[in-house]
Structure formats: structure tokens, C-alpha cells
Amino acid sequence: MPTPMDHKSATDVELVAASQAGDMLAFEELVARHRDKIYARAFSMMRNEEEAIDLSQEAWVKAWQRLKQFQGDSSFATWMTRIVINLCLDQLRRQKRTRAESIEQLDEELGGVERQMPVIATNPSEGLERSELRKRIDKAMNQLSYEHRTVLILHEFEEMEYKQIAKVMNCSIGTVMSRLFYARRRLASLLQSLKKEQQS
């Protein structure tokens, strides 16, 4: 008779295998381990607590339904993150279709604005505590359009290549590069402004 699994001490790989065999308790343990990360990614994209909770829960339901498809090519956390990113992108696209865009957003989409920004001559994050820098980055990210924010998240935090981002966002590599360039330049400018505000 096989010994029952100790879910708390099991590895992700063991928990995934048990979940694939239908063990709900193993899956619950996986949720408990990774729920903060999945929620944080949803929040970083949606910028809304309620939507982030709902989408992260939807991602877990989807994950359970697709567990058989998980082959272990990446870590379970990476696989889960991709699911929640896709759900967030679907939701953001639906929202975009139903709201009018501002002229500023259209300018961002068309590109070219970033070339008019003056180049920053001093490091905007120099001398900042990590917690303070995080706060400022978060504040600046909040001011980006979802397309620019997502490209930045996927490239800098999820460490995805241009080609992978283009696939996830369903756009060309050129668009990815252009959005990333704009996002970085705008972020530099926003961080600089926050630094000046702090100094004055």
C-alpha cells in the first residue's frame, strides 16, 4: 500500500504529478505556494485588486483543467504565470475595445513621441533605497498604457525575448521593440520627475 503524500514537504514536481493524478490536496498546496506570485503578476498588469484576484483564481481553475498538458518543460511557476498573463491580456483587450482612447494613448501607439523626449543625463535611481525605488517604479508603471507596461513586464520580469513577447501579445517583433523603447524612455522620464519632486 503506498504511503500518503506529505504535501507540505513535497516538491513542486511531486505535487504536480499528484495533481495530474487527481489529488486535489496536492493542487491546493501548489496554489498556496504560488498564489502570491500569480496574484502579483495579475495585479501588475491589471492595476486593480479585484480584477487581479478574479483573474488569478480563473488561472488556477484553468491550470487544473490543463494540468495534463504540463510536460515540465518549464517550472510550474513559469507555466502558471503564462496562464495568468494570457488571461490578463484577454481581459485588457476586451476592456480596450470598449473604451475610447485618449489622444496621448494614440500618440503612444503611433510612436515617435519617445524620440522627442530629452535624454536623461543622470541616473534617476541613483542613491535610492530599494523599497523607495520599487515604489517609484510601481507608480511610474501605473502611468503607462497596458501595452507598454505589459511589454516591460514580460521583458524585464518574465525575461522573455522579443520573439516570445510578440507571440504572447499577438503583434510583430517590430511593435514589441517600439513599445519597449517607448516604455523605457517614458519610465526614465517619470523616474526623473519623481526624483526632482522629492528633491524640491
Partner: protein, 164 residues
């Protein structure tokens, strides 16, 4: 690809060796582009590792309960077709056939599909006739003085001639 995007690709390690050499040569003489590359480097360094760190504002049990409920509902919904008895599949052709018959009945205006007709003759005659092309027969029922209806004439083809 314009020079700015090439600079970014250089920073992200997405350029081929030949393009890297070309760009480095450009950067050695173009201070404006070198300053832009520096800005991109600062931004990349500032963002790296500074992803927002958040904790779910819900308890483990409360958060899990909704997930478990959704999974259960989805599985119940998916299981509904499987709960039908195995023998029900043998009735699918019969239901299809019944639907076809009903459709033909509607199209034919209520006539029998074998071409049989029931026809009432004028009221003063008090008779009813029945004719079937498929059965190759026709029968006439006539009422007597008491109103009792009985067949008075019958024509049938290919009937065995046993009484002759």
C-alpha cells in the same frame, strides 16, 4: 530598424555579432546615441529585480474555496453527457426518423405518406370513401336509414381470387 531600436537590441542582447560591431563603431563617434544607450542601461538596471512584491489580500481558505467551487462546477458540467445511460444512443436514429416523419407529415399537409385519402362525399349522401394507392384499394362506406355506416363497395387489385 532605426538606430534607437538597434541600440536597445544591443542592450538586450538581441543583435547579431556583425551589427554589434557596426553599432559600437557608431557609438564611438556619436555622443548623443551613446547618451541614449546610457539612459536605456540605467532604466533597465533600475527595473531589474524590482518587480512589485504583493501578497494576496485574502486568506488561504477563502481564496481556495472559490477555486475549488469553480473546478467542481466545471467538472459537473463536463460530466453531464457521460451520465446518460449507455443504451440511450440506440434511440438516436429512432428520434431522427420520428423527426423526419413529422416533417413529412407537415409538408404533405396531413396526408398519409402512402398516398391514402379519406374523403367525405356531400352530406345528403351520408357516405365516406377511403382510397389507398399503396394498398391499391378503395372502399366506400354508406350510411343506412338508421345511420349505421358499412362498406358497400370495395375494389382491390392483385387480391387472390379464392371465391371464384
Amino acid at each position: 530598424m532605426n538606430t534607437e531600436l538597434k541600440l536597445q537590441a544591443l542592450l538586450d542582447g538581441e543583435l547579431e555579432t556583425r551589427e554589434v560591431r557596426e553599432l559600437e563603431a557608431l557609438l564611438a563617434k556619436d555622443t548623443q546615441q551613446a547618451a541614449l544607450l546610457q539612459e536605456l542601461k540605467w532604466t533597465k538596471a533600475a527595473v531589474a529585480g524590482n518587480d512589485v512584491a504583493l501578497s494576496l489580500p485574502e486568506t488561504r481558505d477563502f481564496y481556495w474555496s472559490k477555486i475549488a467551487r469553480e473546478i467542481e462546477t466545471a467538472e459537473k458540467n463536463a460530466a453531464v453527457p457521460a451520465e446518460r445511460p449507455w443504451w440511450i444512443q440506440y434511440f438516436y436514429p429512432a428520434t431522427g426518423l420520428a423527426a423526419m416523419v413529422a416533417l413529412m407529415f407537415v409538408i404533405s399537409g396531413g396526408r398519409d405518406t402512402d398516398g391514402a385519402n379519406t374523403e367525405s362525399v356531400p352530406e345528403d349522401v351520408n357516405a365516406v370513401s377511403f382510397r389507398s394507392d399503396a394498398q391499391e384499394m378503395s372502399v366506400v362506406y354508406v350510411a343506412d336509414e338508421q345511420g349505421k355506416i358499412s362498406p358497400v363497395g370495395q375494389e382491390a387489385k392483385n387480391e387472390p381470387e379464392t371465391d371464384k
